[in-house]
């Protein structure tokens, strides 16, 4: 079996530490916040100048001057701070963000990340803060489907798409597995229930090692 988007988000959420400063990328990472246990106080950073971002406002209470990096309406938590863009990026680039959850198009065996353009000729590209986050955050977790829609692997020995940053990803969460990027290569910590390692390897474009203490991904969602 493979995880749904919600199951994947819930699995990632289980690992988000209490009290951490976290930046959530656009898409799947944003979904993670919905599954973080209520007893954890996670402080969300948005690169347009918010530290301590809260959930979406109630209908009718949206403030056009209070949006996140994905341009969605948000709220502030008690303890939030507003800063300007350069300071918001000092938090990122200076290594102060504990954890960045980033969507990925490809990840290499050495933790190279490609997540900003599928286009070799950069037609209508947009990079946003992705390169800053990938390079600057203390830990980077990449979230993605394990394979492309047409079945191609997204975990590769070397990325074929333009890089966002080299050697930055610490951990990969996919709908099939949780994989650590280590100095000894890619180590599988968890696999989707019922999946066997040979099948996982077959669907992966880089050599995997199965951890001795691997386990099945726990599904809470």
């Amino acid at each position: 079996m493979t995880l749904t988007r919600e199951q994947l988000a819930a699995r990632v959420a289980a690992d988000v530490p209490d009290g951490a400063f976290v930046n959530l990328g656009i898409g799947l990472p944003t979904l993670v916040a919905n599954f973080v246990p209520a007893d954890r106080e996670v402080i969300y950073h948005s690169e347009n100048g918010i530290l301590g971002m809260g959930p979406a406002p109630k209908k009718g209470e949206e403030n056009p001057d209070l949006i996140n990096a994905s341009k969605q309406y948000v709220t502030l938590m008690p303890g939030a701070a507003i800063v300007h863009h350069t300071d918001a990026f000092a938090m990122i680039r200076g290594g102060h963000i504990d954890l960045a959850l980033l969507g990925a198009l490809q990840v290499s065996a050495t933790g190279d990340l490609a997540n900003w353009t599928t286009s070799p000729n950069l037609l209508m590209p947009g990079v946003g803060g992705g390169m800053d986050l990938a390079v600057g955050a203390a830990r980077v977790w990449a979230l993605m489907e394990h394979n492309t829609r047409d079945g191609q692997p997204k975990i590769l020995e070397c990325c074929t798409l333009p890089l966002t940053a080299a050697r930055v990803v610490d951990r990969i969460y996919t709908n099939l597995a949780v994989i650590d990027v280590t100095e000894d290569g890619l180590v599988v910590r968890e696999m989707a229930p019922g999946l066997d390692f040979a099948e996982l390897q077959r669907r992966t474009g880089a050599t995997l090692t199965l951890a001795n203490d691997w386990r099945a991904i726990g599904l809470s969602a």
Binding site: P64, D65, H84, V127, M131, G136, A165
Partner: protein, 228 residues
């Protein structure tokens, strides 16, 4: 006496010339100085380079400036926002130049211009296409790219409150690039929702000090940005 208030939007943007580089505050639709941009459209300067995080959405303000054919080049981090139809059309037609800069580097380059930093090394972008042609240096165990200051001839800024010296505060996340851009231009022009008496702003909570601001006009009910 320092009193930088001007009496019209036309006066606020007076002197902007063809070929200038204009920094425009805002992120998404928050903090875009819509009325000042429209004054630039009316004023007529062309062949402009604009620096802003996004390349405009809808048909008004930044998109309006692009649609009017005044912009030669856009320097930004994320031109492909939803609704960036005008930019998309011009870019696809090869009628506008794009310099894509990582968002943090964009902000830091403007800060460098404002703070007198002649250039700086950052690991952001190293080993990527956006660093092609740039000097790379290994520092502290990591490849760094040399980035140069990005200075504006003009900055167009939207603020919340202001006084006649040019001290500014902002509203929530509409602050974004404004304080940095205000530092980074030769001529910083501000539209504020409200101009208050000198001394009415708490010295400890002023975000942009007066020294970075050159012209000020009150726009009490600014239009939202990115209208269709």
């Amino acid at each position: 006496m320092r009193d930088i208030r001007v009496s019209s939007l036309a006066e606020a943007v007076d002197g902007i010339r063809d070929g200038m580089t204009i920094l425009i505050s805002g992120f998404g639709n928050a903090g875009i100085p819509v009325e000042l941009i429209h004054a630039v459209i009316d004023q007529g300067a062309k062949d402009l380079t604009i620096v802003c995080n996004n390349a405009g959405s809808g048909r008004t303000d930044i998109a309006g400036l692009l649609a009017a054919g005044r912009v030669r080049k856009v320097i930004c981090s994320y031109p492909k926002s939803s609704g960036a139809v005008v930019f998309e059309r011009l870019y696809a037609a090869g009628r506008i130049e794009l310099e894509l800069v990582p968002q943090g580097t964009l902000s830091e380059r403007m800060r460098a211009a404002g703070a007198g930093v002649g250039g700086f090394y950052t690991p952001t972008g190293a080993g990527t296409r956006l660093a092609e042609g740039k000097e790379v240096r290994h520092l502290n165990g990591r490849d760094h790219v040399l980035e140069m200051p990005l200075k504006g001839d003009v900055a167009l800024i939207k603020a919340e409150r202001a006084d006649r010296w040019g001290n500014l505060t902002y509203n929530l996340a509409a602050r974004n690039f404004a304080p940095t851009m205000a530092m980074a231009a030769d001529l910083t022009i501000v539209q504020a929702r409200r101009i208050v008496e000198l001394g009415a702003l708490d010295p400890e909570t002023i975000v942009t000090p007066s020294i970075f601001v050159d012209r000020l006009i009150e726009v009490p009910n600014p239009e939202p940005a990115g209208r269709p």
